[in-house]
């Protein structure tokens, strides 16, 4: 057992070390990978960077619109598929999970360009939002379906026997029970929306660069500990959101 234990420790270290190194050097006073003392300089630089600020604002707008929308659509879909199957919808959602991100991205780009001929609607925040909702619905539906699987439908039937309409039984009996799962799904879709680079970069317009797009451009340009500072910030923020989401799913 000893060598296996040592191996597992090394493997887990391999998974964590790169991120820890990244975070550590975001507090480095120097620009390069030599430790020159503790400093918050790069965080100040990150906060002062107008491109990053614009990217952050765009990402927040997108996530704040897309996450609730996909949560509502996905939750209703999961509820609709709970007792009776909806093979076409289930198949399409499955398809959206299987499709490589790059293909999802170019296919949406093709759609938007095609629509552009009729609607004169350029790429922008709205096209990103539409795309994010499209790929988040499946995630939401999975989380909610998992919760509904352990939910006793007798509760809803009892409500209806007592005279509640189907809608009333849903909102007053089922919804409170699955509320933690809905919150978990909302946080999850917030994170996937905030994180996406591949699809977003294809359907975003010139004036709708998101935070990951700005980070990508900076990483491409070369060494800047500012990227480390933003990354550290994202690592911590995502970690907290996901931990909350997991706690909610266990309820």
């Amino acid at each position: 057992m000893k060598p296996l234990k040592l191996y597992a420790a090394l493997a887990l270290a391999f998974l964590h070390a790169p991120l820890l190194v990244l975070i550590a050097f975001s507090f480095n006073a120097g620009r390069f990978t030599v430790w020159e003392g503790f400093s918050l300089h790069w965080y100040q630089a990150a906060f002062a960077d107008t491109q990053l600020a614009e990217g952050l604002i765009n990402s927040l707008i997108i996530a704040i619109v897309a996450a609730p929308l996909s949560t509502v659509i996905g939750t209703l879909a999961a509820y609709g598929m709970w007792r009776r199957q909806a093979p076409v919808l289930a198949g399409t959602l499955y398809l959206s999970l299987v499709t490589p991100e790059i293909v999802t991205g170019v296919s949406l780009l093709a759609l938007f360009q095609w629509l552009f001929r009729f609607l004169r609607l350029p790429l922008g925040l709205h096209t990103v939002i539409v795309a994010h909702v499209a790929f988040s619905i499946a995630y939401v539906a999975i989380v909610i379906s998992a919760r509904l699987r352990d939910y006793d439908r007798a509760l809803e039937e009892a409500a209806m026997d007592l005279g509640a309409s189907g809608w009333r039984a849903f909102t007053r009996v089922t919804l409170p029970v699955i509320a933690p799962a809905i919150a978990a799904a909302a946080l999850l879709s917030l994170v996937v929306s905030f994180d996406d680079y591949v699809i977003t970069s294809l359907v975003a317009g010139v004036d709708s660069e998101t935070l990951p797009m700005v980070i990508y451009a900076m990483a491409r340009r070369g060494v800047s500990p500012v990227v480390n500072a933003v990354s550290a910030f994202i690592v911590v923020a995502f970690g907290v959101l996901i931990l909350i989401s997991q706690r909610l799913q266990e309820k």
Binding site: V21, I102, T104, L108, V235
Partner: protein, 270 residues
């Protein structure tokens, strides 16, 4: 309209418009001709698909297959012992699973950038070693990035099958005189075959369609299928050919996953 249909309606409309329709457009484009200014024109043709058999593109296809296969093999090799340890860790199981997944939950872009930071010529490794090794922009860097990003995809299903492994079987093997290696080879691995199959497919699919990792860590040199698709839709502006490449990628992913869903692995893991 009843309540159930009303609930399904928004998802049906949204997925039809923004998942099914875009893919249908890509299917149609793959059969059309590239226009003079980068648009899409008639006549209908199969030329985009036959062009995929061009030696230039076959090389990209082959490279994607090799990199995805190697990534999968490495994930299996590195992931199997880790899954075995977690499955037998007793009360620390949940903590270890959290530790496995925590880095996975941070941004994909940030995880890939971390390796850029470590490997580049003025990066951490070269600074520590006082060298100027070219660690980035080669197949090895891409492989490392893919294994790093997708290792949990292998460990999780592997763990799920190993957890169900009855310890009595291992004791029985030992009682009958099997050495640890024989137990591993003749008992543990055959029983955990569904986990190996599921984990392999779950790693292979995203690796085959990888775009960001080869783009950032492979530089311009390591072009994989995902990069080919992106390039055709942006720089090269050959949408019909890009569509054909997209369909190939999708078909491969969908077939592999369908095979997995029909196999013994799916029944045991779900």
């Amino acid at each position: 309209m009843n309540l159930r249909r009303l609930c399904l309606l928004p998802a049906r409309v949204w997925t039809a418009l923004f998942i099914a329709a875009p893919l249908a457009i890509v299917c149609a484009y793959s059969l059309l001709t590239r226009g003079d200014y980068g648009g899409v024109e008639q006549p209908w043709t199969l030329e985009n698909f036959t062009r995929l058999a061009d030696p230039l593109y076959l090389a990209i296809l082959w490279r994607s297959l090799v990199i995805a296969t190697l990534s999968t093999a490495l994930c299996a090799l590195l992931g199997f012992p880790l899954a075995l340890f977690i499955a037998r860790a007793g009360r620390h199981k949940n903590l270890l699973l959290q530790l496995l997944l925590l880095p996975f939950w941070t941004s994909f872009l940030v995880r890939t950038y971390a390796w850029l930071f470590i490997l580049r010529d003025t990066g951490l490794i070269n600074t520590i070693l006082h060298t100027h090794l070219q660690l980035l922009y080669n197949d090895g860097a891409v492989l490392l990035g893919l294994v790093y990003n997708f290792l949990p995809f292998f460990v999780l299903p592997m763990y799920a099958t190993l957890e169900k492994l009855d310890p009595a079987l291992l004791e029985a093997a030992a009682d009958l005189g099997a050495k640890p290696f024989a137990t591993l080879w003749r008992v543990i691995i055959p029983i955990s075959a569904p986990g190996i199959a599921a984990g392999s497919v779950l790693v292979f699919i995203p690796c085959l369609g990888a775009y960001l990792t080869p783009d950032l860590l492979g530089g311009g040199k390591t072009v994989m299928l995902g990069n080919l698709v992106q390039n055709q839709f942006t720089t090269a502006r050959d949408w019909p050919f890009g569509s054909a490449a997209s369909l190939l990628l999708m078909l491969a992913s969908a077939l592999l996953l369908a095979a997995l869903m029909r196999s013994r692995a799916a029944k045991e893991l779900m």
